[in-house]
Point group: C2
Chain length 334, copies 2
């Protein structure tokens, strides 16, 4: 009946290039007063859980180990994926490794959360609902009609009616107006056995292939061949959009998925004392003196080998640059 | 009766900061396929003159020496000013150092000129007119109503009627429409004796103080105390705007004073094969891969310790940044 914080750490964060690289995804960049998002995640959830289980990849498990060691977290288990197969499978690995009655509290490793009290309270409620046999999700109360997030529609009892993909701006406005739509935060809480039951029911191929891979796990490492056979789909597609046992916890704590430089800037603006965040333009990653002339809302990012300059509202386009460079100059993504 | 190319090399080029610094004014930056503007000036004028005389300063005479050595120019004279006193005095030093009948062909060291044949021809005409007893200036035929240059009004015989300071845009359009106005290029040609006569007549204080300083010259170095006493005014104010013995040679060769990043970009655009110049945005001084997203006509300049980002049409504002940094962070100008 332990509560296990399952930390998903497979993302590469292409939308924070050139800061984030294949060799250092965004959750491992020490952007936040020397701490990484991965460290902040583990430190935040440690007091709320009995165990930590890191689901990472061969490309980054050493970064996870270094990060945890640096903040004196020494007891944790890890599952190391030979290749990425999306969240449905990653959570299945954690569920197979746990006792059936254990509660999995699943968190991405690359989000920012502030407001300890509200967060603690929300997690406690989620654990209670999970023990009662619900798949629990966490939904942020929308601050504006954001088009970068999926939405969760719920009823008066916080039972989930539907999951919505990232909407267009008009649709997003409609969601916000209706009042019973929340931003999908990507955090979940449920019994290991219930997750596996629902996965088997709605995405049997993922369940079977993940079980097969898990049977061949060797000192935490999952084998490449068996992982190749796993369908790559998200937990939302595989389970959440089908199950009728889902509750959502609307939360009020501050949450930011740092899915873009715009989101990073918003975080800096809200955070007191971050001088950069309040400037007319934002310079990141540089120790140089930066002068902007006649510009506003420009983001400048500098690394050893690459520079990115764009208006704040173009942050979503970084992903396209990343994809283009994958073909043209892959060495810049390493 | 020698023709002496007087190279004026006192400018600091604050409008090309952060590329140009006090320790490396723009004429000494190897921007042009490894050559500096100073070198290009000496190489261009060497074949058109009998001697080279460099009028520089204690801050940069070593850069001049290195530059000339690197392009195998070994015979030249130099006058090293203890502090800058503007062009009227600088040219006076060259004139005092020459024989009265020598022809001084005075050129700034930080301009770009292309089109050898037209240039050679214009200089030859200037030398002829100078021998006939004229103060000769060179005027570029305006390509557009530029507000960054002074203008020269002339009559049918190319006799100068007036010098105009940098105009507003409406005034500039009027000059271009009238057809007998040229951009003041800052190049001159005249007999040493005539220049000194006119200087004595119209700016006696400069003449006297420059003569006094010149009498104390020691191995090329002009003394600080005597230089302090020299009024700091330009040759335009001191002589050209008053004398009635001035001819202007309208020229058609390509000329660019590189007085701003905008001017530098224009040069790159015109020059064949300069890939950078034709891009939507311009990145200078960096070896990094630079990505612009959703931006056009942006200039990015990177150096070891400073970065500048601005729209092309704000290039003139760099001077203000330079002046502000002079108070706030003078170490960034060194």
């Amino acid at each position: 009946m332990a509560v296990i914080n399952v930390i998903l750490s497979g993302g590469v964060g292409s939308r924070l290039w050139p800061l984030s690289r294949k060799s250092r995804p965004k959750q491992y960049i020490p952007l936040f007063e020397g701490q990484t998002l991965f460290q902040m995640c583990a430190l935040r959830n440690g007091p709320l859980s009995d165990q930590i289980s890191v689901i990472g990849s061969v490309d980054n498990y050493k970064l996870s180990q270094q990060d945890l060691q640096a903040v004196q977290i020494e007891e944790y288990t890890e599952v190391i994926e030979a290749l990425p197969r999306n969240t449905a499978a990653s959570i299945a690995f954690a569920a197979f490794a746990a006792d059936p009655e254990d509660i999995l509290f699943v968190t991405p490793s690359d989000h920012i959360i502030s407001g300890t009290e509200a967060y603690t309270e929300a997690v406690a409620r989620a654990v209670t609902l999970a023990r009662e046999g619900w798949l629990v999700t966490f939904g942020a109360i929308p601050e504006h009609p954001e088009t970068g997030y999926g939405y969760i529609e719920h009823d008066d009892q916080h039972t989930v009616l539907s999951f919505k993909e990232k909407p267009g701006i008009d649709q997003a406005k409609e969601y916000v107006r209706k009042g019973n739509y929340l931003w999908n935060s990507g955090m979940f809480c449920f019994k290991a056995s219930l997750y596996l039951d629902e996965l088997k029911k709605y995405a049997g191929a993922v369940y079977d292939a993940a079980k097969e891979a898990m049977s061949k796990i060797d000192q935490g490492f999952l084998p490449e061949r068996e992982m190749m056979a796993i369908p790559s789909i998200s937990v939302d597609y595989a389970v959440m959009e089908h199950s009728d046992k889902i509750k959502v916890i609307p939360f009020t704590f501050e949450w930011n998925d740092l899915g873009s430089f715009d989101a990073l800037w918003s975080y800096m603006e809200k955070k007191d004392g971050t001088r950069q965040g309040k400037a007319e333009n934002l310079a990141l990653g540089t120790k140089k003196h930066v002068e902007f002339i006649g510009l506003k809302d420009i983001i400048y990012v500098e690394t050893e080998d690459a520079v990115l300059i764009m208006p704040r509202n173009q942050s979503q386009e970084v992903k396209k640059v990343y994809e283009r460079l994958e073909k043209e100059k892959p060495e810049l993504l390493k």
